[in-house]
């Protein structure tokens, strides 16, 4: 084939994918469940802020109890930076759960409403169709994390102000406010990769299960399993380093005194590899399967 013709075909392929992506975005933001998901995220955030306000002082007292004997404390530790950290701690479980429901729903509803058959009657290849779904899933995940970051920083700083961040990771680490902010930003960026992984995984699960309820159950199981496996020591360096479940708390490295950039880079690279692997597997299965 002439290289020009090949280039033209690629352009045509991509223009269809682009059109499909636009359609997917239209469908995503047309459905009420997308806004419901964002609203529920916001509600969880408010609950976390409220709970942290009431429980935070108690926890800080416990953390610093032994030091109170020896020290006077001057300044406020229950501040916006600590609350953003707490939101991160809890939202990295709730957010993927909500993302998985919305993202997998973009495919399973197509199966349920049989709109997928209508789409496939058009001059659209299966690969283009599912690729557009994955792209939109990633974009929606990015939007959700951005929404989460903006709301948590603005709410926390507005109501609780700035101050030193105290984090307990085997040792009590104190970060000045100026240092806490970039660390929290890095944590959001690192967590985003993890969120994309779970979104992509849920779409792949959707490809396999097709049914919405089954997909949600399997996705939730996958998420819970990942969280359980994160805490388990496999007694094997390769498994402890490379296994996908071990990568989801990479964001915590930004709250160690000296950031282990080598580990962060390796984990981020591995997460991207897993994302591509799940997309590849999902696309392959979708292309091979017949639309019933």
């Amino acid at each position: 084939m002439h290289p020009g013709a090949k280039y033209g075909k690629t352009l045509q392929y991509l223009s269809i994918v682009k059109a499909l992506i636009q359609i997917e975005f239209f469908k995503l933001f047309k459905q009420s469940r997308t806004y419901l998901a964002l609203a529920s995220l916001f509600c969880i955030e408010l609950i976390i802020l409220g709970s942290a306000y009431f429980q935070g002082k108690n926890i800080l007292d416990i953390l610093l109890e032994n030091l109170q004997k020896n020290f006077y404390f001057e300044g406020n530790l229950l501040n916006g930076n600590l609350l953003v950290y707490l939101i991160l701690n809890t939202q990295w479980f709730h957010l993927p759960l909500i993302l998985m429901i919305v993202v997998s729903g973009t495919l399973t509803t197509e199966y349920k409403d049989r709109t997928i058959q209508t789409t496939m009657l058009q001059p659209v290849k299966k690969g283009q169709f599912i690729l557009a779904k994955y792209v939109v899933a990633i974009c929606f995940t990015l939007t959700s994390v951005l929404f989460l970051a903006l709301t948590s920083f603005s709410l926390s700083y507005t109501f609780f102000g700035r101050g030193d961040l105290i984090v307990y990771l085997d040792t009590l680490n104190f970060f000045p406010a100026s240092e806490a902010f970039p660390r929290l930003l890095y944590a959001f960026l690192s967590g985003t990769l993890s969120m994309i992984f779970f979104s992509v995984a849920s779409l792949t699960i959707g490809v396999i299960c097709k049914d919405a309820a089954k997909t949600w159950i399997v996705s939730a199981f996958f998420l819970i399993l990942s969280h359980l496996l994160l805490k388990i020591d496999f007694g094997n360096t390769i498994m402890n380093t490379l296994f996908f479940a071990k990568l989801s708390d990479t964001w915590q490295y930004f709250f160690q005194q000296d950031i282990a950039w080598d580990i962060v880079k390796l984990n981020s690279f591995l997460t991207i590899c897993y994302i591509l692997l799940f997309i590849g597997v999902g696309m392959l299965l979708f292309i091979k399967k017949d639309i019933e």
Binding site: N66, K69, N70, E74, I166, L172
Partner: protein, 220 residues
């Protein structure tokens, strides 16, 4: 009769001895120097050396006024030691006490007068203190205070000039208990069992204080 005379002599001589040891004159002189301070303010730089705490060096301002609690101010969060900032020896000598000479101690080739302070008032919060006094400059350079509740503290004080009455650097060593807590506010771990979380044993922590810009007001 002879027996009673001997007992009487023993009691009198014991009383005289105890009286002689009640207040060491050098310590009294240092206390009078300290008592001449009406107030002072100083900029503090604090560094914490505790194995399970990572904290950058912090800055604070300290304001002392005679017979008033010490006041601190800082732009950010700061942990200040409860012991080691009482440069005027107020907390040590505020209750009745006796002093017991312990001879001389040598530090870095220099001789210091060693002195025990034993409180005679049960309200005192320490049981015994050991002071090393620099006789040539008439100031305290080292102290070890055994408190009734908070363990033992050791203070090392360095002065920037021979005439200085207040230290330029202070090292505070103390015992501190280590804790382990899962930092998860919202999960099921919220109800923390304090006893379980606390590891047995204690660690020695150190605080390094550097003082600058003393503004001292003496009693007129």
């Amino acid at each position: 009769m002879r027996k009673y005379s001997l007992i009487g002599l023993f009691i009198i001589s014991s009383c005289t001895f105890v009286h002689a040891q009640q207040h060491d004159p050098d310590l009294l002189y240092i206390k009078s120097r300290m008592d001449s301070i009406q107030s002072f303010s100083v900029d503090l730089t604090l560094e914490v050396d505790i194995s399970f705490i990572h904290m950058p060096s912090k800055k604070a301002k300290m304001k002392y006024t005679k017979n008033k609690p010490i006041k601190f101010s800082s732009a950010d969060f700061v942990m200040l030691p409860k012991r080691g900032l009482d440069f005027t020896l107020n907390s040590l000598l505020s209750y009745s006490y006796i002093t017991v000479p312990r001879g001389e101690e040598i530090r870095n080739g220099k001789k210091y007068k060693a002195l025990n302070i034993v409180p005679t008032d049960p309200n005192s919060d320490f049981s015994i203190a050991l002071l090393l006094i620099d006789i040539s400059n008439m100031r305290v350079t080292e102290s070890e205070i055994s408190t009734r509740k908070d363990g033992t503290y050791k203070l090392l004080m360095n002065y920037d000039k021979p005439t200085a009455i207040l230290p330029a650097k202070v090292e505070v060593a103390f015992e501190v208990q280590r804790i382990r807590i899962p930092f998860n506010f919202m999960g099921k771990d919220t109800d923390i069992d304090r006893k379980k979380m606390r590891e047995s044993g204690s660690k020695t922590g150190k605080i390094f204080l550097t003082m600058s810009n003393y503004i001292i007001e003496h009693i007129r």
